[in-house]
């Protein structure tokens, strides 16, 4: 019915006059141009922080890698060692020297002494100030993390947790994989450690928390969450910027809850399915050539005076 109103323009056999067609085309064109322009602006707002930090000599920069699963054998990745070595090479090729490289767990697939030795040796070739780790459940399958701590536990408290400061940022590394439960678990000792650790810090201190299993409920049905994380996060509520970086889920995911931003990192080894898309979170075999896209390393930058951290995920080249 609305189409009748252009009747004065003598509709042609197709039902639309030339003028109408032109006018519609113009509006449509404007819509497309504005959509693209709007999208550009939005993605620009989202994107540039990481790149801008690259040029800032005062920025604190570190790298997160995760879930290398050395010793894994399966069709999802038949050469995890090679993949890990590739990721390490990519870190060494960065145009800057990261303050530290953090491996957020599942260094090994089966926590054997040989696998621990291999991962330690490989990471000793990193061109960085320090190599840091937190354990994954694969690093503690039969000894609640004893072998892990023998290799990587120097200078840590309790079951392997610790905190440190770099350029005004306070870092906390937590262990939530030792409970023999489906979900991650921190336990009272560690919660007490967090409470005391941050008690005296001013509220404008940027806080970064590392853990293997996510501290937010990413998909509890698959154990992708930590049952007592809310308690730990409650101690961090008064801080203006809290960033939680985890591994375990082998895929990128970001979520903000109040003052806390969570970033799940991807793996250097093999992908896991997205939440709920498979009966279980079992290794996914991708078609040839697609594997690189699913894996990566994460560059993180902090510029003094900025409210938060810039997180940039880079595919394994």
């Amino acid at each position: 019915m609305t189409a009748r109103e252009g009747a004065a323009d003598e509709p042609g056999p197709e039902g639309m006059t030339r003028r109408q067609l032109l006018r519609h085309t113009a509006w449509f064109g404007a819509a497309v141009v504005l959509t693209v322009a709007g999208g550009e602006v939005v993605s620009h707002i989202a994107g540039p922080s990481g790149a801008a930090a690259d040029d800032d000599p005062h920025a604190l920069r570190f790298v997160q890698i995760s879930d290398s699963h050395l010793g894994f054998k399966g069709s999802a990745n038949t050469a995890v060692e090679e993949s890990f070595s590739h990721a390490l090479g990519q870190i060494n090729a960065l145009p800057y020297r990261p303050a530290f490289v953090m491996h957020t767990g599942d260094l090994t697939h089966l926590a054997t002494p040989a696998q621990f030795d291999q991962v330690r040796q490989m990471m000793s070739g990193l061109r960085t100030g320090q190599v840091l780790t937190v354990p994954g459940e694969h690093d503690s399958i039969d000894d609640t993390g004893q072998k892990y701590r023998e290799v990587f536990g120097a200078g840590t408290a309790g079951d392997g947790w610790y905190s440190f400061d770099v350029q005004g940022v306070h870092f906390i590394s937590l262990v939530n994989t030792l409970s023999l439960e489906k979900l991650g678990h921190l336990g009272n000792d560690q919660l007490e450690f967090v409470r005391k650790d941050v008690a005296k810090l001013p509220a404008d201190t940027p806080i970064v928390v590392f853990s293997h299993i996510p501290l937010f409920a990413m998909y509890p049905a698959w154990g992708w969450g930590t049952d007592d994380a809310t308690q730990a996060l409650s101690y961090l509520r008064r801080f203006s910027s809290v960033t939680c970086l985890n591994g375990h889920v082998h895929q990128l995911f970001t979520k903000t809850e109040g003052n806390v931003t969570f970033h799940s990192a991807t793996t250097t080894a093999y992908p896991l399915p997205q939440p709920g898309t498979r009966p279980a979170p079992t290794p996914v075999t991708l078609p040839a050539g697609k594997l690189g896209e699913a894996r990566g390393i994460r560059e993180v930058a902090y510029r003094p005076g900025n409210p938060g951290l810039a997180v940039k995920d880079v595919r394994l080249a």
């Binding site: 609305t2 519609h24 509006w27 497309v32 999208g39 707002i45 903000t256 997205q274 709920g276 995920d313």
Partner: protein, 131 residues
């Protein structure tokens, strides 16, 4: 085809709100979600574009586009809370308040478009109004 000006501006504003919420979520992390991230970007860009053109007084084509964007956003919301949108699921009105704001804005877009369509039709069907 100028329609009711306040109605038109209201629709444009609600659409812009929906676009803004999607843009904000995109910037704050949704960009990394496969498919959903880019879809949010398209939703934001498209909503802003159609909002501007609606305010300038576009043809019926633009109203259909506005309705399409609102329906698409509502549909995506419903799917992500039930069977999952390309493997992405969320629960209830999380994230708050963005989820609720965008639901209301998109519903308002649809209501305003529907009402102005009915008004225009009635005006046209009134005998005196036809030239």
């Amino acid at each position: 085809m100028t329609g009711n000006l306040p109605m038109r501006l209201g629709t444009a504003a609600c659409l812009a709100v929906s676009g803004y919420v999607h843009a904000e979520l995109y910037v704050h992390g949704y960009r990394v979600i496969p498919f959903v991230g880019p879809a949010f970007l398209v939703q934001a860009g498209g909503s802003f574009a159609i909002a501007v053109l609606l305010a300038l007084g576009g043809p019926v084509l633009l109203r259909l586009a506005a309705a399409g964007l609102a329906l698409g956003a509502l549909g995506g919301f419903a799917v992500s809370r039930t069977v999952g949108l390309f493997g992405f699921t969320e629960h209830g009105l999380q994230p708050a308040p963005e989820a609720l704001v965008s639901l209301l804005a998109e519903a308002a877009v649809l209501v305003l478009l529907g009402v102005s369509h009915l008004l225009a039709r009635r005006r046209r069907e009134t005998p005196g109004a036809v030239a």
